[in-house]
């Protein structure tokens, strides 16, 4: 483009600086969000991968069967990089006054090297010369304030043994401290991980042989290599083969950040759409006012493609500047966000990379937004008839539609309202575009609001309706008098026996490790809800299972499931029903049924507290009872869940703020453009003495009416968008249902309408500032 046209475009843009700035900011935010969220997502993924590569994180963790035989079976298999066997067992532990079920993990090598390598972060590794030494996992050390020299007691099935902490380590298996896939979120005081030399681990686990085999595949291994190895492992007697993706810590972390991938595309798309609409409106308005000029230029022989190029340039220049800013600020945000995420989760490796393809795509998206949004009005401009040059004021006759015709007879309605009503049909495209702006604003607000409200509802449902117990106490076999002791504890209102066991459900050869909880037939400690939301009770026979099991294993109510307890033979049990639970996919039955499956007595109690119970005192006293091996406070679990969701809250909260800003921006731009189209009319009315307040009211009525028309569509679209976003989080570990109350919908509608109302303030100022003489003079020429 050459000089004079450049100057015209730049001066035009400067004259509309507030709108241009608002559009630019919206494009910039869209690009920024895309670059920051997508690159952060990739960085977090790369950070995990670096840790996993460096520490040789196992691709397959095999339990059940003879681990040495299993390891030997794949020793020479193609694609296998490393193999190790070790002992791992969940044991009752006592750390200070706290009793819990912790995990003892054997170290196949003295220096912790091999597979699932550990990083020493304080103290030293166990001294081979001192057989009672262990190292503790970082979260355990933090929770219990453990350091070198501290003592831990571990129950080895016969007696409590003291071990000494020699150091603190970080393990790729416990970047998120999860006991298993079904307990991703637990009471931090109810779980501890201790790494012990293999010989000590066997002693503490009362085993003579390892019970776990770890396999690391080579980077070059093909899928067929992996399938072959899995097949060999099964043939060698492997009971459960856990893929890296199902490893509890990894699964929890990936669940946590996977949502960003959806947001990295969805939210920027909304911002860019909003920017495109605002820019389309701005250019349409500009071209509308320049119709006589365009007509003149075309009459003088201006090439149509030159006209198109000129108006596309407007969008292009705004989008280019904004997209560049978005890429640059997005780069900074990527670094900050990745650092914050890594620091919050204390990741051992942090990868911060600014990817050129991400920046290029972000820039291209921003630029495309500007160019495409500019193209439609630009083409329309090039199609303007040269005869438009004959029209001095650029005013075109309005379309007399049925509403306009009918409203002419509504003489009881003040003319101000009739004017506003007719204006809705005066430029249908503008009205629709303004409505789309309002709809997008509502979508953004509701998509983030619905995530916040739905996750909050999920937490409330889990801890108010599903898990109704206040604490869970696990006891050693034969500890029969604990029941009475718990009943007599001050603050404890109800005590129920429970059988809690790890089991594996097998259907058509596909195993699914989960937990089985046996409860009293008329339990008050757990609420069961059918997938349709109706309450139900425990069946006398058979088991209830989390609804996700149906999809995961392809089972239906009435089918028989094979349930394999951790010890003892497999049992066939009838699936009596499916239950809808926010967290996990577990099995439930009566205590009697559970005992028949596990072949063991009930091993726990669920407690319900009375009002004013001193939770810490109950924990301390109950933990002191002989026979109690673990105590879990449900409020601590709830707090852990809330802390797990912190990143989610922050992201959704930030999006909500951005959504509200976007709502205001879009509405502001559309409203001011709307007003600009009426400058001549308003100036004429002012010239006739109409008060500014009255004129502002007229414009406000129309603009707010358009917004109100958009509200129902926006609410429906926003709820739909929220549902789509939530769906991306759902799997067998999390079941999120859309929960947007009437209050959230009302508030969103009020927020958008308020944004429309607030955007009338600058509009009112514009009306006040109209140079009546100038406008009237110009239009009379």
């Amino acid at each position: 483009m050459t000089t004079a046209l450049h100057k015209k475009a730049l001066r035009d843009l400067r004259r509309r600086l507030p709108q241009v700035a608002a559009i630019g900011a919206t494009v910039m935010l869209g690009v920024l969000l895309f670059v920051a969220s997508y690159d952060s997502f990739r960085n977090v993924q790369a950070s995990y991968d670096r840790t996993y590569d460096r520490t040789h994180f196992a691709d397959l963790t095999v339990t059940g069967g003879d681990s040495d035989t299993i390891a030997a079976a794949v020793h020479d298999a193609a694609g296998v990089e490393r193999i190790a066997t070790r002992t791992q067992a969940d044991r009752p532990m006592a750390i200070g006054a706290t009793k819990l079920v912790g995990r003892v993990v054997g170290m196949p090598t003295a220096n912790g090297r091999g597979i699932n390598e550990i990083d020493l972060i304080a103290g030293r590794l166990p001294d081979p010369a001192r057989p009672d030494e262990v190292v503790v996992e970082r979260h355990t050390a933090d929770t219990f304030d453990l350091a070198a020299g501290k003592q831990i007691r571990v129950f080895d099935d016969t007696a409590w043994r003291d071990v000494t902490v020699s150091g603190v380590v970080q393990s790729p298996e416990y970047l998120w401290p999860a006991r298993n896939r079904q307990d991703l979120l637990g009471d931090p005081h109810a779980f501890a991980v201790v790494f012990a030399p293999e010989s000590l681990a066997r002693t503490l686990s009362a085993r003579t042989t390892p019970n776990q085999a770890l396999v690391e595949m080579a980077g070059s291994a093909t899928q067929s290599d992996r399938d072959r190895v899995t097949s060999l492992l099964r043939s060698a007697g492997a009971m459960n083969i856990e893929d890296r993706g199902d490893q509890p810590s990894n699964a929890a972390l990936r669940q946590n950040f996977n949502g960003f991938r959806v947001m990295a595309v969805g939210f920027p798309a909304m911002f860019l759409s909003a920017a495109a609409i605002a820019e389309y409106l701005l250019l349409t308005r500009l071209i509308y006012t320049e119709r006589p000029i365009i007509g003149t230029l075309l009459a003088l022989g201006a090439r149509r493609h030159a006209v198109v190029r000129h108006y596309v340039w407007y969008g292009g220049v705004v989008a280019t500047v904004a997209a560049l800013a978005g890429v640059l600020i997005g780069g900074v945000a990527t670094s900050l966000y990745t650092k914050a995420y890594a620091s919050l989760l204390k990741l051992p490796d942090t990868v911060i990379v600014h990817r050129i393809p991400t920046a290029a795509i972000g820039f291209a998206l921003g630029l495309a937004t500007g160019v495409i949004a500019g193209l439609i009005p630009a083409i329309a401009a090039a199609r303007i008839a040269p005869a438009e040059a004959m029209r001095g004021d650029g005013v075109r006759p309005i379309r007399i539609g049925p509403v306009t015709r009918a409203s002419a007879r509504w003489t009881l309605i003040p003319v101000v309202f009739r004017m506003a009503l007719r204006s809705l049909t005066r430029s249908r495209r503008r009205t629709v575009a303004t409505m789309v702006g309002g709809v997008l604003a509502l979508v953004l607000i509701l998509a983030s609001t619905s995530m916040l409200t739905s996750v909050r509802a999920m937490v409330d449902t889990e801890f108010d309706q599903v898990q109704r117990q206040d604490a869970t106490v696990l006891v050693a076999p034969g500890a029969n008098d604990v029941d009475a002791q718990l009943q007599s504890l001050p603050g404890v209102a109800v005590v129920e026996p429970a059988a809690i066991a790890r089991v594996t459900v097998v259907v058509n050869g596909h195993p699914y490790p989960t937990s089985l909880t046996g409860l009293e037939p008329a339990t008050v400690m757990h609420g069961f809800r059918n997938p349709d939301g109706a309450s139900r009770s425990l069946p006398a026979g058979g088991v209830l299972a989390g609804a996700a099991l149906a999809n995961k294993l392809g089972v239906r109510v009435g089918d028989d499931l094979t349930v394999v307890p951790s010890t003892g033979p497999a049992r066939s049990i009838h699936l009596a029903g499916l239950v809808d639970e926010p967290l996990g996919t577990a099995l439930y039955s009566t205590n009697a049924t559970a005992r028949s499956i596990t072949n063991a007595e009930s091993n726990g109690y669920l407690l319900r507290f009375g009002n004013g119970a001193d939770r810490d005192r109950v924990r301390a006293t109950a933990s002191g009872f002989s026979g109690v091996v673990a105590y879990t406070d449900n409020r601590a679990v709830e707090n852990q869940l809330r802390s797990y969701l912190v990143i989610f809250w922050v992201f959704a909260g930030a999006t909500l703020v951005l959504g509200a800003l976007l709502a205001f921006t879009v509405i502001y731009v559309t409203m001011t453009i709307n007003l600009a189209e009426r400058t001549g009319e308003l100036a004429t009315l002012r010239a006739t003495g109409a008060p500014i307040r009255r004129l502002t009211a007229t414009v406000a009525i129309e603009n707010i009416a358009v917004t109100l028309l958009a509200v129902p569509i926006g609410l429906a679209a926003g709820v739909g968008a929220g549902w789509l976003f939530l769906r991306s989080f759902n799997n067998d570990l999390f079941s999120l249902h859309l929960s947007v109350g009437a209050s959230a919908l009302t508030l969103a509608a009020i927020a958008v309408t308020a944004a429309a109302a607030v955007s009338q303030l600058p509009a009112a100022r514009l009306i006040k500032r109209i140079d009546v003489a100038k406008v009237v003079r110009e239009r009379s020429q």
């Binding site: 000089t3 015209k8 006589p292 003149t296 003088l300 022989g301 029209r391 020429q781």
Partner: protein
């Protein structure tokens, strides 16, 4: 387009109707017209007589429904819009009653921009064009800083930017006071005489038509008379 002679206008049986059916409004009814190359012609008539439509057909802004129109040596009857654009670019300049200047560009840039958009003309000629319309000292002024007459003079300079064979002016003095209007007519007359560029001016003012070599009178879409003016008035002395 078939090339005949350079310059001049020859219309035969040109008709144009707006709307359809009961709402049809005939704007031109079988107009025959000859205007010689380099001639200053005035089309005179009351509102609704069809004079602006006639100007649009001559300038290739609108196509006639029937008849032939040979303008500046080119038969533009039935031309596609793209060809009409090319025709205007090469042969025609327009001056409108409403100046339609770009408010964000200076007088100089308003002339320059046409050269850029049409790909015709040399921007080094802009100072000469502005000098020719008496605006050398106002080249850096924006339209808002110019009087109505000055703005119309800029629009004349703009119309001449592509060095047209024919300058079409639609009520060029219609929005101006008498003194300023006279100055604009004077400029058109000078342009015609100095450059040999034909000028066709539409006006409803009998007095302003006195400056023309050829006066065409219209009523109800038809030409009612055409008169050659052997001694056209000097625009500088014109009174109305």
């Amino acid at each position: 387009m078939t090339k005949h002679t350079r310059g001049g206008v020859r219309l035969r049986g040109v008709s144009k109707t707006y709307g359809e059916g009961a709402a049809a409004v005939p704007a031109l009814r079988g107009v025959d017209l000859d205007i010689r190359a380099g001639e200053f012609a005035a089309i005179l008539g009351p509102s609704g007589s069809g004079k602006t439509t006639l100007l649009n057909v001559i300038g290739g802004i609108e196509s006639a429904d029937c008849g032939t129109a040979v303008v500046a040596g080119h038969d533009i009857s039935g031309c596609r819009p793209r060809d009409l654009g090319e025709f205007r670019r090469l042969h025609v300049g327009f001056v409108f009653q409403f100046f339609n200047l770009i408010s964000t560009l200076t007088a100089y840039e308003n002339v320059q921009v046409v050269m850029e958009l049409t790909g015709r003309g040399d921007s080094r000629r802009v100072p000469d064009l502005l000098a020719a319309v008496g605006l050398s000292d106002r080249d850096a002024h924006f339209p808002a800083q110019l009087s109505g007459g000055e703005q119309q003079r800029v629009s004349i300079a703009r119309a001449l930017a592509t060095d047209p064979d024919l300058l079409l002016a639609d009520e060029p003095a219609g929005a101006l006071d008498v003194a300023t209007g006279r100055r604009v007519l004077e400029l058109l007359q000078q342009t015609s005489r100095a450059t040999g560029c034909g000028v066709i001016m539409v006006t409803h003012n009998e007095a302003t038509a006195e400056v023309a070599d050829h006066v065409v009178r219209m009523r109800d879409g038809a030409i009612v008379s055409t008169d050659r003016n052997s001694s056209p008035a000097d625009a500088a002395t014109l009174r109305w």
